[in-house]
């Protein structure tokens, strides 16, 4: 029923990157098409700058808040005010469960906020929940300049 979904993962911790790639491999109809390991790289990827001129624009972004070079909150704010990129759903996936972080993240127009799991099984559950909701239940926007 659902279409396939391409995800950009923005995550600096290599262990978490591996866990997430592992988790999404267990889930059908979703693919991690790119990994950015800091905030600057994430923006370059989405704007197809530098080494990312051929980057495939994702259907959804998984964003950790704590990133080197440019913090995830800044990335979020920039993306959600960029007319070409603002519509891409951003799922913030981060360790903090602090209320102020949750509030601030939603105020910056993150689409949703998920507390980062610790073990692979929980990552697989989250990956599966994300796949199910965003491809079977919700409709995704069409990317500007997509073809």
């Amino acid at each position: 029923m659902g279409a396939s979904m391409d995800i950009l993962l923005v995550e600096d911790n290599p262990g978490d990157v591996r866990l997430m790639q592992e988790a999404f491999r267990e889930v059908n109809s979703v693919k991690i098409v790119g990994v950015a390991t800091d905030g600057v790289e994430a923006l370059d990827y989405l704007r197809r700058r530098g080494k990312f001129t051929d980057a495939h624009r994702p259907d959804l972004i998984l964003l950790d808040l704590n990133l080197p070079r440019k913090d995830g909150r800044e990335v979020l704010a920039e993306l959600k005010t960029d007319p070409m990129l603002r519509r891409i759903p951003i799922v913030v996936l981060t360790v903090s469960q602090a209320e102020q972080d949750i509030i601030r993240t939603y105020e910056l127009h993150a689409n949703c906020y998920i507390s980062k799991p610790i073990n692979l099984d929980d990552f697989i559950d989250i990956a599966s929940a994300i796949q199910h909701f965003w491809t079977d239940i919700a409709k995704l926007p069409a990317n500007i300049n997509s073809y």
Binding site: E107, S115, F133, I137
Partner: protein, 145 residues
């Protein structure tokens, strides 16, 4: 829930009750009232903001897009997740809703079983998987974002 169709509203209420997770559903039937409700004006003065908004785009008196745009630009309301739940499957509507910062867009199923399934999926994702901002008690709590 901002929904002008009484049948859909009743179905939603029933489906949510069966899901067991929601405690309280306020039902508003048009866009003007939705904005009054959200801003605590008129007869809605004193009601706390909701934790989540289910929004139909086809509303009498003010389009759902206006309600969406107004909530998402209001400093107090913009944190509230807005789940668009509406008949239109037009890609232009979907795109526009996301551009206006709808948290997600769901096409309202016509089939009863699918409708109940979708409401269950919303509860599951938004109340169990995703964290949402804590309930707001005060409109002006003094903490600037």
């Amino acid at each position: 829930m901002v929904e002008d169709n009484l049948g859909d509203a009743r179905l939603t209420r029933e489906a949510l009750k069966n899901g067991g997770l929601f405690c309280c559903l306020d039902h508003i039937r048009d866009g003007e009232q939705a904005l009054e409700y959200l801003k605590h004006e008129g007869r809605f003065a004193g009601t706390p903001p909701p934790d989540l908004i289910l929004l139909d785009l086809n509303l009498p008196s003010k389009s759902g897009f206006d309600v969406l745009a107004k909530s998402k630009s209001d400093p107090v309301l913009k944190r509230i997740p807005v789940i668009v739940l509406t008949i239109s499957r037009a890609q232009s509507d979907i795109n526009r809703a996301y551009d206006l910062h709808a948290n997600c867009y769901i096409v309202k199923p016509i089939n009863l079983d699918s409708f109940v399934n979708v409401i269950g999926a919303i509860q599951e994702y938004w109340l169990k998987v995703s964290a949402i901002p804590p309930r707001q008690r005060e409109l002006t709590c003094g903490l600037e974002p």
